[in-house]
Structure formats: C-alpha cells, structure tokens
Point group: C2
Chain length 339, copies 2
DNA sequence: TTGTACGCGTTATCAT
DNA sequence: ATGATAACGCGTACAA
C-alpha cells in the first residue's frame, strides 16, 4: 500500500521519469495518449508526490510556523484560527510553537523553525523579549516574517496589531463622558509594550478631560491573564478608595475577577462602579452583568498577518520588492452590562 | 548569510563531504584534529543541516500532525498543550489542523498530512465521522496514529480517552446521594459517542438508585458547546418541571448558561437546584457560584496520546512489534459551589 | 582515518 | 513528443 514513485510508474509504462513527471503536471508537450496512460496508472497506484523530494528540489516547504506565548489563552486561539483560515486557502500547513513568555524558549523555537526551513514565521513576542537578534536572524535567513500583537517597532518587517493606546483612551474617555470621575486602572506588568500603551491611553484620557492623574489609582496585575489578580486588586482598591466609581482593566480576565470581588463586596455594577475590560475574550459574554470591553479582533489579526505573510512569500519567490506593512486593525468599544 | 552545506565546508577544508558529515555527527573514526576543524568552520558558517535533504534521506519528517474539531475550544487547547509538551522533549514539530466537525474536511486534512509524510497523527474525530476509511488509510500508509477524546472503537490503533459513562454516572450518583430526586439531563446531540455515553451514565445512575428514568427530563442541546443552549433549556425545564432539584449538563458551557438562567429566574443554586457540569473548562472557575464539574484531564489526555504516538514511531523505526493501547484516563468530581 | 560512489524522488535544462 | 542527465544536500556501505 506504499508510496509509488515516478520511477515505478515510468518503469511500468516503459517510459522515462521525465515524461511521467511532465504528464502529471500537465505540461503541453506530452501527447494525450501517454498523458492518459500515466494519469491512469498513477491513480491506480495511488501515487502522491514525495513532498520530501519536492521540498528539496523546490526549496519550499509549503509550511509556516506560528509562535505564540501561551497556547491556552483564548485570544491566541482566535488569532490562530485566522491564520489557519488563510493557510487552508493556499494548502499551506501550520506548525504551532509556544514561547511560554520566555525569551530563551522563543529563540529555540525560532531556530527550530528555521532549521525546518519553513517558508515564513508569524510571531507574537514574549513578554521577556527585549533584544531582537533572534528575530533579525529570521530575516537574515531570508525567511518571511510577520509580527502580531506584541510587536517590536525596531524590527524591519511587517506587523499587525491594534492601537492599544487609542483603544484604551476611548474606553476611559467613554467612562468619563458617562460621568465617572474616579477611575482606577488595573494595569499589566511593566515589561510588555501593550500594557504600557494601555496605561498611557488611560492616563491621556484623564488628562484630556481635565481629571488629574492619580498614581494611587493604578494597580499592577503582574500575571494579567489571571482573574485572581483582578479579584485581589479590586478588594484593595475599594478599601483604599471608597469613592471609586469605575475600573478599567488591562484584560478581560482581570475584569472578571473584579466583577467577582465587587459582587462579594455587594457593590453594584455598573451603578456604583463601572467595569471596563479589554480583549473581548469570550468570558466577557458569560459574566453577570456582561462585561463591557474593548474588542480586540483576534481572528482578523490572525487573518491579516497570514495574508501579509503569504503575499511576501509569493513576492520573494518572484524576487520582487517587498514593502513591509504595519497594519493597525480597528478596535471598538462593546457596550454590555458592566459599564 | 545563507545556508552553508556540507559540500561547502568540505571544499573549504579540502576534504570530502563524507568526512565532514561524520565529523559533525561524532563518528568515532574521525581524527580529533579534523573533527575540530570541521566543527569550528561549521559554527563559523552557521551551518545547519538542510532538513529537506535529511527528510528525504531518512524518510522521516520529525513532525506530527494533530487534527481537532475546533481550534478555539478550551478543552482542545489543553490537549494541544499536552501534545506540545511531549513533542518539545523530542524536538518534534506539531502541525495543527481542524476538521470543523466536518467529515469531508477531516478527510482532506488527513490526506494533507499523509502527503506531507508526517511521522504520526493524533486526532479527535469530528461529530460527523461515521465511517473510518480515511482513518484506516493512515494505518495503511504505515503512519502511526492515536485517537483521543472522540475515538472509534472499530479502528485498530491506540486510543486515549476517558470513560464518559462512568464519569457521568458518578456525577449523577453524587447528586442523588446528596438528596436530589428530580434530576434533569441536558445532553449533547445524538451523533457523537461521548454525548451518548454521558447520557447512558446518567440513566444508569438513576436506575441503580431506584429512580425511574423520565425522558421528559432530558433536553437536547444540539450545539453543546454553546451556553445559549443551556440558558434556553433551563428556562424550559424550570417551567415544565417546577419541582426540579438538579441539572446535570453534557458540558460546562451549557451549565454556565443554566446558571445564568437560574439567576434570572431567581432560583438559588445549589439550594433549590444543584448544577453539575462536565469538562472542567476554565469558565467553571469564574461563575457564581463556581461550577461543580467532572474533571476531564485534557492536558493529560494530550500528553498521553503524544507519548504513545512517539513510542509507536520509535518502535516502527526499529521494526518492532507494536501493541496498541486503549487508555482510559481517570476523571474525578470537582466539588465547587454549584452542587 | 579518509574518501568514493550511490541513492533518496523530484524537477529543470537541453538534446534528440 | 520524449528522454538523458544533472542537481538539490545528505548519509552510508564499501573501498582504500
């Protein structure tokens, strides 16, 4: 039941492998008769090209790699789904690797992908990633590269992300326009750029609305994909600031913890305290009240990143010039129950 | 910056490619001197073996494929994480494909993986999958195969799953022992075996405890990964059976919908109605009250499936006999707030 | 200790 | 319209 080769087909038909190869690929310079004979036999023998040989010959793997920080974070599932969608259209396969938010692992995974000679790589940088030599190595290897979500402005390649600062600004601005005056921000840790940007958007919105920035209203949730952090921070914040009337969190999961804490404290949402999340992860739909949040379009991000990657792979093949793109996808505010 | 080859190294050192190859692979019959020279130059030129050529030569891809029904379902993320864990240990890469619960797509993905000549495939069958020719084709291709979660008893290969029937039995038995008398079951659709098994476990637990089975207490949630279904079914059930005192659902997400509905109906959980879920997906930790549920060990399932797969790949390589395993991983009841 | 020669399966070039 | 030949890069049996 195994692996017919061009050679075998050729032998059985008493012709050359060249002819067989051409017949199978619909070259014009093969007679209909032999073409038919070849195709029939190929079908009968269940011939499929040996992709190892094809890869070697064409120097293409028809495979791309995706590196994400954590596998079981819903946002990345959405992104991945977008990537798959585009890959399927082109009969490309997708290898998935995780960096676990570790620079060292990220480096290793990149080396692995390069040594596998994937045609391109899509990556969201780990929180630890501060230098970019390993990223530049990808480009040096002439492998296409697209950064998404956690990008590095310093690297010369295409990027797909959202404008965290703007999105964050809009959310806080909205809270203020709705009459909230004392708005806490539960921010992410100091390292990743998006945590910083979201914080800056928060700050700017306050300032633009004439509300003085008060650093005691900012709480750091180090592991900001954990709702325990939000729970704890909410309890502290409510004690320290009894007149708090809104909380804007760096991520939905933190906001879910906040909702839980407020419920335990018998503080009504949104009447007493409004809560605004970030991400539109699917938990935001099942809380009580439902969570108002910034829609971060994961699926679209994945789709776009893959689309650009495949474009660049094609261009590279044709030795055409590549103009790197930096795409910022639109976010929007989702008004649900909590704010 | 590109792609040194054995040939180039050999040329630069004035030796043969054979010697270079051996030196790099630590063959014993190479002098320390040349070995060092080779290794140094290889490092300098940033040599990495061309895996296309290695693949062709060794007929191995050092890659496995995973096919799952849906990418953004948290249970599968956990499984995938387990698979990755094992793959990383062995420097294997993992290609991920989705079947979207469609038989046709599942077939296509399998063909793709086979044509890529992956060393093994791990798959959870789609809900539509009723015949198994495409699965048997994998074995016929001499490619290792492990089924998980949604398995097919008829296919002769290794399998990793849980005992849905037993797990379900235990949950319902627990509810009865706690004094619940009128227990509804929100089941999954009729096709996938696990929905059936969970239902059968429910039924058996009732019977063993002398509670007559009442089919009007069974509600079908077709799209049983959707909490809307649970919400709607709960409202109906509470109307039709005002004396209901427990609901056992096929999946956590359905249970989350149930909790929401009961909250809207001002029915207290677990006092009036106990709710028991299935899966231990992470939403079960953030509901109010927290959801009692069956722990379906996704990570372990993935780990085990991968472990078996890699074992079989190794055995096959050594042309040793393979004894297929059917593993049933232990589940346990997680007692949280809702029951 | 080192090198020669061949094959893995495909494809591209160039003759015929 | 067809085929001979070479090449992709590596690994290994065998010879030297």
């Amino acid at each position: 039941m195994n692996n017919a080769t061009l050679k075998q087909i050729a032998a059985q038909l008493g012709i050359s492998t060249t002819t067989v190869s051409k017949a199978l690929k619909n070259y014009t310079d093969i007679s209909e008769k032999t073409k038919k004979a070849v195709i029939d036999l190929a079908q009968e023998l269940n011939y499929t090209p040996n992709s190892f040989a094809v890869n070697l010959r064409t120097s293409e793997s028809k495979t791309i790699g995706v590196i994400i920080p954590t596998v079981d974070f819903h946002f990345f599932s959405k992104v991945f789904k977008g990537v798959l969608e585009e890959a399927e259209k082109r009969d490309y396969l997708v290898i998935v690797l995780r960096s676990n938010e570790k620079l060292e692992l990220e480096k290793k995974q990149i080396d692995l992908l390069l040594s596998k000679r994937v045609d391109g790589i899509i990556i969201s940088l780990s929180n630890e990633t501060g230098d970019f030599d390993h990223i530049k190595k990808v480009l040096a290897h002439n492998t296409s590269l697209v950064l998404f979500d956690k990008i590095a402005k310093l690297v010369n390649c295409s990027k797909v992300s959202i404008n965290d600062r703007k999105a964050s600004y809009e959310a806080v601005d909205y809270l203020i326009k709705k009459g909230r005056k004392k708005i806490a921000h539960f921010r992410g840790s100091y390292m990743p750029q998006n945590a910083i940007d979201r914080f800056l958007g928060y700050k700017k919105a306050l300032e633009d609305n004439g509300i003085p920035y008060d650093s005691s209203l900012v709480y750091v949730c180090d592991n900001f994909s954990d709702f325990e952090d939000g729970y704890a921070a909410a309890k502290t914040a409510c004690t320290e600031h009894p007149d708090l009337d809104a909380i804007f969190t760096v991520t939905d999961l933190v906001a879910v913890g906040v909702l839980k804490a407020l419920q335990d404290l018998a503080i009504s949402v949104p009447e007493q305290i409004a809560v605004f999340g970030f991400c539109n992860s699917f938990v935001s739909e099942i809380t009580t009240p439902k969570l108002s949040t910034v829609d971060q379009p994961g699926f679209e991000i994945g789709r776009k990143a893959a689309e650009i990657l495949f474009e660049e792979i094609q261009l590279k093949k044709k030795r055409q010039l590549i103009a790197y793109q930096s795409i910022e996808l639109e976010t929007s505010l989702l008004h649900r129950g909590s704010a």
